[in-house]
Amino acid sequence: MFSRLVYESFRHQTRRKLLAGIAITMGVAVATAMIAVATDIGDKINRELRSYGANLVVTPQEDTLDVEVGGINLKPPSDGAFLNEADLPKIRGTFWHNNIVGFSPMLPVTVKVGNDSKDVTLVGTYFNKALSFGKQDFTTGVRITHPWWKVEGSCRDGRRAPPGRIEDFQGGCGWPSDDSQNILVGERLATKLEKKAGDKLEVSGRELTISGILSTGGAEDDQIVAPLALVQQIIGKPGAVRRVYVSALTKPQDALAVRDPKTMSPEVYDRWYCSPYVESIAYQLQEVIPHSHAEQIRQVAQNEGTVLSRIKGLMLLITFAALFASALAVSAAMATAIYERRVEVGLMKALGAGNLAVSAIFFAEALLLAIVGGIAGFSAGALLARQIGRSIFDSQISVEPVLFPIIIAIAVFVTFAGSAAAIRGAVKFDPVFALRGEG
């Protein structure tokens, strides 16, 4: 009889159930989407913050001072120590290799350029170099770590580079390939030398082709950037790298992050080592690259933590607001649905149903609605989160399956809470009034 009552109520009162069902579905969908976005926003914003550039730099352990003023490197090329280029792919072998977005080696040297033999800094680096470590193949270089570098040059088919993100035009208009003898010239240097893309330029005795004009808004505007291998040839030091910029996704700094790993107990050390702090990633980089010193670039690393925690905090508060609004909507819909059925309650009670039996029927209905609405809402919310991820961040926001039972539990709880007051009102309602039609 109990299940028949519930079943018939769903069969005959479709419209009322529909309103409550839609409210639960929408409420749960919004809650799911907001929770998914709020939990993922840290990672997403972290990736956006990578457009500030590398947050770690690896230098040789025993290095002499950099002598650089206004973008001109005054350090003799023979001076100081180097890292070995062959060690670099090992960066992918660190514990947090999935958090390492990319790295770029740098080899700055001073060269004579043009007919009047001006001193200019030539920097060797990777543009978008294909490397492999173990079984992994990956590409890395300044196009990943220095996304604000813009190159103006003709494409191979003569087209101009379209504006937009680097990923949008893999062809790479104007960017030299990493095994070529082509170079990029900074825009201010190009104006001084009166050169444009496609011209030849004499760099310490070699005739090189300018494939594009580089604009960075920084010191590189006065420099020449070339493939690393070419610069190594020019100075006659194969495999030499002055420093490596590493761009990594990190966790905001906290009390544990800044502790000295040497003074930690083994458990604390493990926890520290297995957290993607910028400090622990630096430590791991030093482990894999021999004779190296890895350091955070404080300008980038220190600030991203604050920005990140602010945005995460904001989203958390907004998620609470969304949850509150959803809960309110579900309660209102449930209250309405139950309120409309007071006459029925009167009839049931007149026929001898106790308060408990009446409430049980209503709660069973609410439970059913919550589960059905919860499942529908969860799927809708997952879709919504994906849509938000795709349209705002150009990447997926996936909803963790772990969230499913939690969301359903919340849906049931909120539905019950919303119905409780209305059910109590309905149960207390005098059957006499109900049957006289004074509901």
Binding site: L19, A23, M26, G27, V30, M34, I41, K44, I45, E48, L49, S51, Y52, L56, V57, D63, T64, L65, D66, V67, E68, V69, G70, L74, H146, P147, W148, R188, T216, G217, G218, E295, I297, R298, Q299, A301, Q302, N303, T306, V307, R310, L314, M315, I318, A321, A322, F324, A325, S326, L328, A332, A335, Y339, E340, I388, I392, F393, R436, G437, E438
Partner: protein, 389 residues
């Protein structure tokens, strides 16, 4: 709960007519609106609550939407200068350059001069020495990790890596520049992870006395939107024709990226919340129509036209929108201020200019939510309802 209107005491029809004779006829409409709200308090309160939540969230969002960007921009200014002024061809900037930068940009900027020279250590090593204004540099470059800022004459701030060369045991040391020597005491260590680590920083006036080199670079942190920064760059370029003025693209683009994404996420969330709240208003209004079906049936039985009943209900919804909008606005301002304090540790300035939008928006949401209940109203048959079915 049982009857919607019950006279306080029994009056003869004549007395009632006399009492209302001088009152304007329209007051009946207002009276019905008010009585409905007073008698169905719980129902009205829950509809109002939904409305308030929608309006409060919308207000808080609009307040934050503008302010969060301003707040985040302040956070982004911690990344340091976003505009750099460099003298052309390795010369120095004119002596009044710093003053003119400040006069052009006014109070919302922080400008720090830097001058560079390559000095030699007694051991013959080259080291870059920089002259600057420590007070300003300290404000601009929050990320500099400094053990102790120089506070006495002839004290220098020494980069981590430079320290091992010039003053490994933190003893005073000597530097020479074009034959002129200076003796400096290390005040503290500077750690940044970048080029600064290899340099030695001196007070600008001491630096200039020693080397005779005037500032060649001014780093400026301009507060404001991308357009305002561009504008400042143009103004500065006009004012300082002898220098290159350029935005630091690394900083500008990173900032634009993060701001855009945050703004879009905020916007999407606000839309979702307002939609959910509208749903809540809708559910409550449907309940309200149902609850008061007898009132409407009586109105119809007494000869009210369909339009009048609909208009009455729409007026109720609009009134709900107005009250909810006003209350929600103030609560929303409070919420925005709270979020500002908790999350950004700075107050969010209330923006009363968004009030008309919130009010009109609330009324529209209430009216839109009333559409479905109004179609239900049309189906009310006075005869059936009054018969008690």
């Amino acid at each position: 709960m049982t009857m919607s209107s019950m006279p306080d005491q029994l009056l003869t029809p004549k007395q009632v007519a006399d009492r209302r004779a001088d009152a304007p006829h329209t007051s009946m409409f207002a009276r019905m609106l008010l009585r409905a709200a007073v008698l169905r308090r719980r129902r009205a309160a829950s509809a109002l609550l939904a409305m308030i939540v929608a309006a409060a969230v919308a207000t808080a969002m609009m307040n934050l939407y503008v302010d969060v960007q301003a707040k985040l921009r302040t956070e982004f200014r911690n990344y340091g200068a976003n505009v750099v002024i460099v003298a052309k061809d390795g010369r120095s900037l004119p002596a009044d350059a710093l003053a003119s930068v400040e006069s052009v940009l006014g109070a919302r900027t922080l400008a720090v001069p830097f001058s560079y020279a390559v000095a030699r250590t007694p051991g013959g090593q080259s080291v870059v020495v920089v002259g600057t204004d420590f007070n300003r540099a300290r404000q601009l470059n929050h990320w500099w990790k400094v053990s102790h800022w120089p506070d006495a004459p002839n004290q220098a701030l020494i980069g981590m890596r430079a320290a091992s060369v010039v003053s490994a045991n933190r003893q005073p040391f000597e530097l020479t520049f074009q034959g002129k020597a200076i003796r400096l005491a290390p005040a503290g260590m500077l750690q940044t992870g970048a080029g600064e680590d290899s340099r030695i920083y001196l007070d600008q006036s001491e630096f200039q006395n020693w080397t005779g080199v005037a500032p060649s670079t001014i780093e400026v942190a301009v507060n404001g939107t991308a357009a305002e920064v561009e504008d400042s760059v143009r103004q500065l370029a006009r004012f300082l024709p002898s220098a290159d003025v350029r935005p630091v693209r690394q900083i500008m683009e990173g900032e634009a990226n993060v701001l855009n994404k945050t703004r879009a996420t905020l916007y999407a969330s606000a839309t979702l919340i307002v939609l959910t709240s509208a749903l809540c208003v809708l559910a409550t209004l449907i309940g309200w129509v149902f609850d008061r079906r007898r009132d409407f049936a009586i109105m119809k039985a007494l000869g009210a036209s369909e339009r009048l009943v609909n208009g009455f209900f729409a007026a109720e919804a609009a009134a709900l929108g107005v009250v909810g909008g006003i209350l929600g606005f103030f609560i929303g301002i409070g919420v925005a201020a709270w979020i500002g304090r908790v999350n950004f540790h700075a107050p969010v300035v209330p923006r009363f200019s968004v009030f008309p939008y919130v009010l009109v928006g609330s009324i529209i949401v209430a009216l839109l939510s009333a559409i479905l209940p109004i179609t239900m109203l049309g189906r009310i048959q006075p005869a059936t309802i009054l018969r008690g079915e």
